[in-house]
Symmetry: C2
Subunit: 428 residues, 2 copies
C-alpha cells in the first residue's frame, strides 16, 4: 500500500487560503506602489547566496539559522535578509550603477528559528534603501522616513508614530561619561525600560558599575518626550558626537517639515537606540499608537558603509525594512485588517451568448477591469454564488431578454441595485 504523502503546510512556512492570498498580494502591491511613487526601482537578487557571503555578515544567532544546500560544487545558502544581497550587489556592480541607487525589494527571506506565533522561517521583507557613493545628504534619511509614513497612511492601519533618534547622541553622552566601552550592556539595560521602569534600570546600571550620577544623566537623555530638540540642547553635552548627532536630528526634522510631513506622524525619542548595531546615525522604529504591544512594525536607519567587508569604496546608505509576513499576521490577529481583502474580479459577465458575453468582457478588460465570464448552462443561483465568493463588485447580465432589447443589466453587488443600460454604451 502506498503511503499517504503529507500535503500540509510546513511548520514556520506560512501558507494562505485564497482570501488571505488576495489580501497579502494587495498589501504588497500598496507598499510597492508607494515605494515606486518615490522613484525607487525594483531589485531582484537570487534567493541563494554563497555560504561565505552570508557568514561574513551573520552575527550571533543568525548564523545558526541559515539554511544551507547540499548540492553542487559551490556551497550555497538561503538569504536571511535583503541587506546582505544589496551590499553584495552594490559592491559587485558599483561601476555600473547610477548613484543615488534608490532600490526596493519585496521578497522572501529564511531563518531556521523555532517557529512560534507570528514568527516564521520563511517570510517577506519589504526593504527600501538609498545608497550613495560619497556623502549622502540627510534629506535621504528624511525621504525614507516620509516614504514609510506614506506606506502606513495608505495601509490604513490607524494612528502610528515613527520614533526617530540618532545613535550619535547616546554615544556622545556615553563618551562624555567615559562609559563608551560599556555601551552595548547599557543599551541592553535601556532596552527593557518600557517594561521594567526607571528604578529597575537605575539599579541595573549601578550593578554594571555606572555611577548614580551617570545613570541619572543616561535616563534623563533617553526619557525626554516633549520638545526633544530644545531639551537636548539644554543638556549642554559637549562631546562632538553629541553635537553632530543633534545637528543631524535637527536637519532631519527640518527636512521632514519641508517634505510636508505632519508632526503627528513622528516623534523624536532617544529610547530607541537599541539593538541596531548596524546603524551609525539616524535610527527609527514605527509603532501603532493603539497597539504598542505589537512592537516596531518597521525599523530602519543610516549606515556608514554598506559594502564594508565585501569591497573597496565607501557607500553610505539609509533604509527601512517592513517585516511583511509578521505585519500581516499582526494586523489580522488584532483585527486591523477588517475587510482589506481584494476581489478576484471586478465584474462577472453572465450571458447565454458566449461570443456577445465575451465581447463585452473584453471591452471591460480594455478599460482596466478584471473580468470573469460565465456563459455555461449552470443555474443562475450557482453563478451568483460564485460572484459573491469572488467578491465581484458588479454583475453584467447579457441574457436573452437583455440581448433582445440590445441592453445590458448591471447589478451592483454591494447595494443590490440593478439597472439596464444600452449595450452600445459599451462599444470601445
Amino acid at each position: 500500500m502506498k503511503q499517504k504523502i503529507s500535503t500540509q503546510a510546513i511548520s514556520g512556512f506560512p501558507e494562505y487560503l485564497p482570501d488571505d492570498q488576495l489580501a497579502l498580494a494587495k498589501l504588497k502591491k500598496t507598499i510597492e506602489d508607494v515605494y515606486r511613487s518615490f522613484a525607487f526601482m525594483p531589485l531582484d537578487t537570487p534567493l541563494l547566496e554563497r555560504r561565505e557571503v552570508l557568514l561574513s555578515k551573520a552575527g550571533g544567532e543568525t548564523e545558526h539559522q541559515i539554511y544551507f544546500l547540499d548540492k553542487g560544487e559551490e556551497q550555497l545558502a538561503l538569504r536571511f535578509d535583503l541587506t546582505v544581497p544589496l551590499a553584495r550587489y552594490v559592491s559587485e556592480y558599483a561601476k555600473q550603477i547610477t548613484f543615488p541607487f534608490k532600490r526596493y525589494q519585496i521578497a522572501k527571506v529564511y531563518r531556521g528559528e523555532r517557529p512560534q506565533r507570528g514568527r516564521f522561517r520563511e517570510f517577506y521583507q519589504a526593504d527600501i534603501d538609498t545608497v550613495f557613493e560619497g556623502v549622502l545628504p540627510l534629506s535621504a534619511d528624511a525621504e525614507i522616513i516620509k516614504v514609510i509614513i506614506k506606506v502606513f497612511e495608505r495601509l490604513e492601519v490607524g494612528p502610528f508614530t515613527v520614533k526617530i533618534s540618532n545613535r550619535k547622541l547616546l554615544n556622545g553622552l556615553l563618551a562624555d561619561l567615559k562609559l563608551i566601552d560599556k555601551g552595548p550592556e547599557i543599551m541592553r539595560i535601556l532596552d527593557r525600560l518600557p517594561k521594567v521602569g526607571a528604578s529597575v534600570v537605575t539599579e541595573d546600571l549601578l550593578a554594571l558599575g555606572v555611577s548614580e550620577e551617570a545613570g541619572k544623566r543616561i535616563l534623563e537623555l533617553t526619557t525626554i518626550k516633549d520638545n526633544v530638540l530644545e531639551n537636548l540642547e539644554k543638556l549642554a553635552i559637549n562631546h562632538p558626537d553629541f553635537i553632530i548627532g543633534l545637528a543631524e536630528l535637527r536637519e532631519v526634522a527640518d527636512c521632514l517639515a519641508d517634505y510636508g510631513i505632519s508632526s503627528d506622524s513622528y516623534a523624536f525619542d532617544l529610547s530607541i537606540a537599541r539593538g541596531l548595531d548596524y546603524y551609525t546615525g539616524t535610527v527609527f522604529e514605527t509603532f501603532l499608537n493603539d497597539h504598542a504591544e505589537l512592537g516596531s512594525i518597521c525599523s530602519g536607519g543610516r549606515y556608514e558603509n554598506l559594502v564594508s567587508g565585501f569591497g573597496d569604496g565607501s557607500f553610505p546608505g539609509v533604509g527601512a525594512s517592513i517585516g511583511l509576513s509578521r505585519l500581516y499576521y499582526q494586523l489580522k490577529e488584532s483585527q486591523l485588517l477588517a475587510d482589506n481583502s481584494d476581489a478576484v474580479a471586478d465584474a462577472l459577465v453572465i450571458s447565454s451568448s458566449r461570443s456577445q458575453g465575451e465581447a463585452l468582457a473584453d471591452k471591460l478588460r480594455a478599460r482596466g477591469l478584471r473580468v470573469a465570464g460565465s456563459y455555461g448552462p449552470e443555474k443562475l443561483k450557482k453563478k451568483m454564488a460564485l460572484a459573491n465568493k469572488w467578491r465581484v463588485k458588479e454583475v453584467y447580465f447579457l441574457e436573452e431578454q437583455e440581448l433582445a432589447k440590445e441592453e445590458v443589466a448591471i447589478k451592483d453587488m454591494i447595494s443590490g441595485e440593478q439597472k439596464n443600460y444600452p449595450l452600445k454604451d459599451f462599444a470601445l
Copy 2:
C-alpha cells in the same frame, strides 16, 4: 590577511543590472496584468516543499536536479516547478477553495542542471491554471489559450502562433494501429521530425518495428498543416479516442472564434503531441513566426487529475507556463526587446526650494506618477545626467526664476521641448 569574499553572481543564478531589472519587472507586470484581467487570482506558496512531495512527482532527470536542504527535522527541498505546489495546495485545501480555481503564480523555481547559455538553475516561471472539481468545460482550455495570446500581443514580441493539438488524436490512431505500447518511442521519433525530415523518421519507425503502412499513416496525421479539422475528419479513423479528440479540438476552435481570437494567432498542428506525458487532452506550444529556432516560448494543456498521488477526488485542470527567465534571455539575445526597459521615474522635480519642490512632487505622485526630487546644491548638468540615466520622461524646473513668476518649466526629455505653465495648474 583577510580573504576577499566573492561577490560575483553564482553560475546559473541570473542577476541583472538595473536596466534589465526594470525591463524584467515590466515583463512580469505585463504578464500579471493580463492574467489578472481574466480574473485569475495570485497564489503564493512556500519555496520549500517536503522532500517526498517533490520526489513523488519528479520524473527522470528532474529528480537529480532537486536542491535539498540540510536543516531541521523535516527534509525540505526547493521546488522545481509551480505545478507540484499547485497540486499539493488544491489537495490540501480543496474544501476551502472555490471552484473553478483560477490562479496564477509568477515565481522562481530551481533545477540544479549544468548551466548553459539561456538555461538557468534559478528561473522564473509564469504559470496560469484553471482547476475544477467535476467536469471542466473545454471553454476553459480556450480561455487559457486566449490569455496566452493576449499576453504575447501585449508583450509585442512580433507575430507568433499557438500550435494546438489534442493528445487523444494520435493516441486514437496508435490504438487503431495496435501500436499504443510503442507510443512513447514513436513520440520521441516524431519529436525529431522538424530537424531530420520525413524520410529519416520513416526509417526510424521501421527500425522500431512499425510497418511501412502504419508509419505512413502516422506521418500523414502529424504533418497535416491546412484545413486541419476537415482533413482529420477525412482520415476516417474510428477509434473512440480519436473521435473524442477531434470533437474536443473542434469545440476549442469554436470557442476561440466566439472569444474573438483571430485565427492568425493559432493553428492546429498534430506534430506537437511530444514530450508532455502529463497532459491528457488539449496540448499547445507557442512559437515566434520569425524565430522558430527559439523553440516553444509557452507550453500548456489539459490534465485529467491534478492531485493524483496526493489525495482523493478528481480535479481536472488546464494551464500554461511561460519560462520567463529564458524568454527574457531569448528576447534580449534576438534583439526583440528593442527598448522595452522601464523608467525609474516618470518625472524629476528640480528646485532650489525643498518645500515647494517636494509639494509639487507630491501632487504629481498623487496623480499616479513616479517622481524623484532634486533640491540639493549639485550642478544642473549633474542633475540632468541623472534624469537621463533614470530615463525620466519630464523634468519639472521650479528654480528661483520660475518661483518668482509662480510658474513651472516642464522639459519633455524625449522631444527636448521646454514650456512654462502656471504653478496653480498643479494645485490638487
